[in-house]
């Protein structure tokens, strides 16, 4: 099975996290769980990676942190909320990805559904 390369995904961890914060504030574990579920368990983000992204984005002003109590229990957690700058940054990253995807796609050899390689001469 192919594993996701951490080098490749590194540039898009911010995008993934910001996407999950678009609609509502969230906290560390919830985000990591959502990443796991939405990626169909193909990408499991490491705790250190996640925390590193939080601190970096907070420094850059893309997210803000605040303390709050859990809805269910009484547990106090650090929540993160997206800022306007964060939304702009997210949009920019989405555009960047669209472009990146377009470019890289041109260099990816297509494999037919039946498994054979299409050399483009049939």
């Amino acid at each position: 099975m192919t594993n996701i390369s951490s080098d490749v995904i590194r540039g898009y961890n911010d995008t993934i996290i910001l996407y999950l914060l678009l609609n509502k504030p969230s906290y560390g574990y919830e985000i990591s769980k959502q990443i796991k579920t939405l990626s169909e368990e193909k990408y499991i983000i490491k705790e250190t990676t996640l925390y590193s992204a939080f601190t970096r984005m907070e420094k850059n002003g893309y997210i803000e942190s605040f303390y709050d109590h859990d809805i269910t229990g009484g547990k106090r957690r650090t929540y993160y909320r997206i800022t306007d700058a964060g939304r702009q940054y997210y949009q920019a990253k989405c555009d960047e990805w669209a472009l990146t995807k377009d470019v890289i796609e041109k260099f990816i050899q297509k494999t037919e559904q039946n498994g054979g390689i299409n050399y483009g001469n049939n």
Partner: protein, 323 residues
């Protein structure tokens, strides 16, 4: 849960105590705790939950720049490249091999001691010294074969004590759990073993009181048998215990500095000459004990040799410290 806390503490143990570091630790702890709780609620076992949380923790290197701890992490990183990593599967194999080896060594020793029984029993029952000798030497032969075999099979693990090795935290914790699980059995085997050795002197005493046929010979025969079983338990238990210790030392040092080079075999004596002589001290004593005992057959008194030997060893140790 305790394990995860320990893990996090060890990971952060070498780092400066700044606000950023403390905050990072707190946040990471929160995430790990949440994940652990959820995994447990999903019905995972303690081991599975702890294993997953630690495996998915990541690497402090990623935080180095944000926390201003690059200098600390880099040092560790360099040394981490050196040495051989002991994976969880290696540790499991090692423990399994060592366990088998422990029982084999125990069995070998048991055969050596029991070999005497053959001689005694056949001598008094069948009045046939040759058959007894045959039994004795074949038992010793099998024992030696077992020693050689277990020595060869375990030699593949020699690198653990000879090379620079390191082991990650999860593996160390696994070994620790195994050792913990073995604790009761260890204590039990050890005390039963010692107990058997002590009560082994009873049969000769009891049988010598009774004046039945061949009672004089049966006493020692039973004594040797009881000693054999006792020694088997002591040898097996301590060898298994030793295997846990070997691994845990590797892991403990590795996590304190993130990497660990096994120090050169610690010398017990400062003076190299004394050290060389003392390395064969107990073998020599055993040899002397067996020789004198077999020659004189004064088993009831020759055990004094052990006491004397221990006193002499203590004296030599004392001398060595003064040198």
């Amino acid at each position: 849960m305790e394990t995860i806390r320990n893990y996090l503490d060890t990971m952060f143990s070498g780092l400066p105590n700044t606000v950023e570091v403390a905050k990072a630790k707190e946040e990471l702890w929160q995430m790990m705790e949440d994940k652990y709780t959820e995994l447990k609620n999903e019905g995972k076992t303690e081991n599975e939950a702890v294993g997953t949380v630690i495996a998915e923790f990541g690497n402090l290197e990623e935080l180095a720049e944000d926390l201003g701890i690059s200098s600390f992490i880099k040092e560790d990183d360099e040394s981490e490249l050196s040495g051989r990593k002991i994976e969880l599967s290696d540790a499991k194999n090692f423990l399994a091999d060592k366990k088998l080896q422990a029982y084999m060594t125990g069995l070998g020793v048991l055969l050596c001691i029991i070999s005497l029984d053959g001689a005694i029993i056949t001598d008094c029952l069948l009045d046939n010294a040759i058959l007894g000798m045959l039994f004795m030497f074949s038992a010793i032969g099998i024992a030696v074969a077992i020693f050689v075999f277990s020595g060869i099979t375990s030699s593949k693990w020699n690198y653990l004590t000879k090379e620079t090795c390191h082991m990650d935290f999860a593996t160390t914790e696994y070994v620790r759990t195994r050792q913990e699980a073995f604790r009761t059995q260890y204590a039990l085997m050890l005390s039963i073993g010692v107990l058997l050795c002590i009560i082994s002197i009873l049969p000769p005493i009891l049988f010598s009181e009774m004046s039945i046929f061949f009672a004089d010979d049966l006493g020692p025969a039973i004594m040797f048998f009881i000693i054999a079983v006792g020694v088997f338990m002591i040898v097996s238990a301590s060898n298994i215990q030793k295997s846990f210790k070997t691994l845990i030392i590797t892991g403990k040092k590795a996590n304190a500095y993130n990497s660990y080079s096994t120090p050169a075999q610690k010398r017990r004596y400062n003076n190299p000459k004394i050290n060389a002589v003392m390395s064969v001290y107990w073998y020599t004593v055993t040899c002397i004990y067996l020789c004198i005992s077999f020659l004189t057959f004064d088993w009831h008194i020759t055990w004094i040799i052990w006491v004397l030997a221990a006193i002499i060893e203590a004296l030599i140790k004392h001398m060595d410290m003064q040198l």
